[in-house]
Symmetry: D2
Subunit: 303 residues, 4 copies
């Protein structure tokens, strides 16, 4: 397999796409992004990095951050998180509040917004948002082996001013006593972690640990790593998770900024970015590229 | 790893269980089964078979049959099935009708009852139930390399007389024009395929192809095999699918008869049976045994 | 008030309607009816009958029958019905099955299909469908003071052959043990009572008792009469009940055949018919006529 | 009918109640109220006022205020409100958010919290909360003919500090662009209008107009009055509205403070108060008293 040529062909194919999907419109800063962009980066087990497209362009990782916040939280507090959040796919939109009412304030999983708010709340545990954010950012920098990873303050401010649905979710969780901290604290932390900016190169490196690649910084036990990957597979693409698993056979986590982090256990860590989204809120062209990559390489957790 | 010893310890552990779970009560024939039973069988890539417990006892495979019916249907008619049934976890009970109303008669996936009825309907395509059943049974026998696999007519009759919820599902699908055949035809076929009896030894052998073991009868293309495994992982345990994936890291499909078929791609095909069920309708002790097996062997699709 | 002139103007207005609505399409016999038809009949407290339009044309009363079946059942068995069916508006379509799952087989009220099936089941109580039907028909004939009221066997057969959603509802109720009789028995009775044919003149006369008009046959106690009227007001038009109450201020019960029975307590009994339906499955032009009638006469239970 | 004796017997009966229900616990100020209290006041068409129990005790009218806010809003802006809020019973709890998601930010009716927030938003229309509040308070004072009606600032502050579910609802509405003003503005106004304190005497007098009693201040046209009464009947008691209509045959609006305002059109305006609530969040003993009152007097809109 000639990986560089394959990645280049994925980039070419992306740019030939008739339809790039639509950028997320509910966050003003993201709504202005040009959808016709593409980048892909792959770190192999031998440590080599291969990229195509705008792999040096920083994008807002948004919900891809939930993987790292979950990893931080599990490392810090262990499995007690699961008394407050489930491990099941929700079958609903990423920002759905409906099941929260039916299931009395317990989010289905840590990768939908409600569940990520609870995870962030657990990580905060009385500390200032600044401290928790510094822990998340530190985790990502260590995972990527790169300190040049930052929060985009304008995106965070943009969400804070207009993220009414997330404000609703946090207050709803609080009404069920499933937030320990004040909703404003949790939301402030959450909006900032979502506003972390990375390139696909940085993101692919940061994902080496979850893919269990040799030589990755040891930030997670094998058990935790597998569990996070399992959650990515069943819940990582919201109500499009089953379809992503069906098409690619790989665990991944998407963000509304158009990024997707994919783990090929023991083989590769992959990051793709294209800001236009499909109907489920996942990168349209990014998903297609991963599907094609899996098809061409035969990479699949299902053998 | 000493697999025989490990399996023996799982059997011992099962029999030491304080709580075997409850047998399915809605099918009279199954309600009479003693919950305190256990069997496990493993076929390895080298073709060897290892078992512990009552691995010669036949049990009603029930919804495990959905894996084989799906395989048959995909082989026979290809991917057009997906215009009638989705590929997403439902987040609801196996026999839920709620989402069918919200999603206008299109079942979420082929492993919940509604989706299996549509799959069976597609396989029937105007033929007599007898023909479709003979195709499913033929597929399973070929997969297992064993002709001594049969339908338990009494279990089928028992379901036919009391399966009001499945009758409701079939008629509801028909009201949305998502059954081509008469509801009675589809239900008759469905109840009979669920009433297939197998031992864990037979079931583990029948699963070799889905696990992609060398030497398994070639009934499925690699792409179809992976896709079925992906569906098992995201949807194979109903509203407990996320939890099963989290605990075991392996794709599996359960049935209310207490059986579970698990694929360890390229490594092993595993069948476990214990008739008592947990809150999601999956074998309680069987699930625990698979979790322990995965823990001890390190088997996981997530590396 | 010149009632005959007013009714004539309503008939003229109906025929000037740009949009008659759509006839129910799920029952073949009803799908063939010409939507551009209209009739209205009013019986006043002094016993006089006034009509306009096709008030001699028989139409399928469909769900209007639920008022009479409920009245029969309450007369026969008293209030124990309420242990099996609620008294709350459902907020869902007339044939919805969704809430049945959420509320474990207990229909919200006796005027949605599921609730009417339970009411019919209670009325059957082990008797042959023929006997229960004869009781319902007898009740209606006595209420109307007219023996020339019959069941249209072709409509009943048409529903029996294609009423998959009602078959689903009955079997679903049975799965929760909320039918005492076999689903086929209850469905047979239900389809036949829905297929009763009446003219608006007959229906207006049959409604005199529920409107509490002097001289009406005494078939219901005042308490039962008021309770049935209350249910008509909160639940009589399915998920359009609130709108009907808001527009007209009067209790009414609609049927998908395009009939509506309205009670003006102590003042009048009104029957209207026009087969085209609005989005909620209630007669479009019929509803508009009742709204206009209430507006012109000042009839409203709210003073 | 000896009304004073009847009211005295209702008071005695209330105090003999084995179970007073539970006070609302989610608003700290209300949680401290002693549930074992009762008051009832009736204004008749002749203008006479009759009371029993603690009819001089002020209580927090809470959601009873929604009747007056709706009346103010309809008077001020007319029927355009209905483009933003429906007129159907919701079938869900008073503070439910579930249907808002299914129906894309359009509340079912103005008497559930979400609908009242939209109504308040419409009334605000860019003004300062103080102005809108002064309009509502002015309306109530004029309706009651009594200027000694005030807002309890502590109750308002208590809700503002802990009303997470209402904060969630307002932000959720805003996310669907169904609030014109900032959520904080709407919530501030809403919490204060709910914190209006009245005695049952004051409330019964304030309800004269809605009951259409002769001599009541003319604040509403007959059409608006009837429509508000219709909404009270179908939606005034949340998911217990059907049951209240069935039991009493009268339109009413309850509040979690334990108050209920009931209109007997043309006959009487009734206010009852007892702070303990039933399962639907409506005054338990208050509902029972109204049922008994209706039974003894024969008062019912259904003749």
């Amino acid at each position: 397999m000639n990986l560089p040529a394959l990645l280049a062909s994925l980039d070419a194919r992306a740019h030939a796409a008739a339809d790039w999907g639509k950028v997320a419109s509910y966050i003003p800063e993201l709504a202005r992004v040009d959808p016709a962009q593409f980048a892909i980066s792959v770190v192999l087990a031998d440590g080599t990095l291969h990229s195509a497209g705008q792999s040096q362009t920083r994008f807002s990782i948004q919900s891809v951050s939930k993987v790292f916040t979950l990893a931080c939280t599990l490392s810090r507090i262990g499995e007690s998180l699961w008394s407050r959040v489930g491990r099941e796919p929700s079958g609903d939109r990423f920002d759905s509040i409906l099941l929260l009412e039916q299931e009395q304030g317990r989010p289905r999983n840590p990768f939908i917004n409600a569940g990520a708010l609870v995870t962030t709340d657990e990580l905060l545990s009385g500390r200032a948002p600044r401290e928790a954010l510094s822990e998340i950012l530190g985790f990502i920098r260590a995972a990527a082996g790169d300190d040049d990873i930052h929060i985009d303050g304008e995106v965070a401010a943009s969400e804070q001013a207009t993220g009414f649905r997330n404000i609703a979710l946090a207050n709803y969780l609080k009404s069920y006593d499933n937030l320990k901290n004040a909703p404003e604290m949790v939301l402030g932390t959450y909006f900032h972690q979502c506003a972390i900016e990375m390139t696909t190169e940085q993101l692919a490196r940061a994902g080496r640990g979850i893919a269990g690649l040799p030589g990755a910084p040891l930030l997670l036990s094998p058990v935790k790593r597998r569990r996070i990957a399992a959650l990515m597979m069943t819940c990582g693409h919201y109500d499009g998770s089953g379809d992503f698993a069906f098409r690619t056979g790989l665990p991944g986590k998407s963000g509304v900024g158009g990024g997707i982090l994919v783990a090929v256990p023991g083989v590769a860590s992959v990051a793709v970015w294209s800001p236009g989204l499909n109907a489920w809120g996942n990168s349209k062209v990014g998903t297609e590229a991963i599907e094609q990559l899996a098809h061409e390489t035969g990479w699949s957790v299902f053998g």
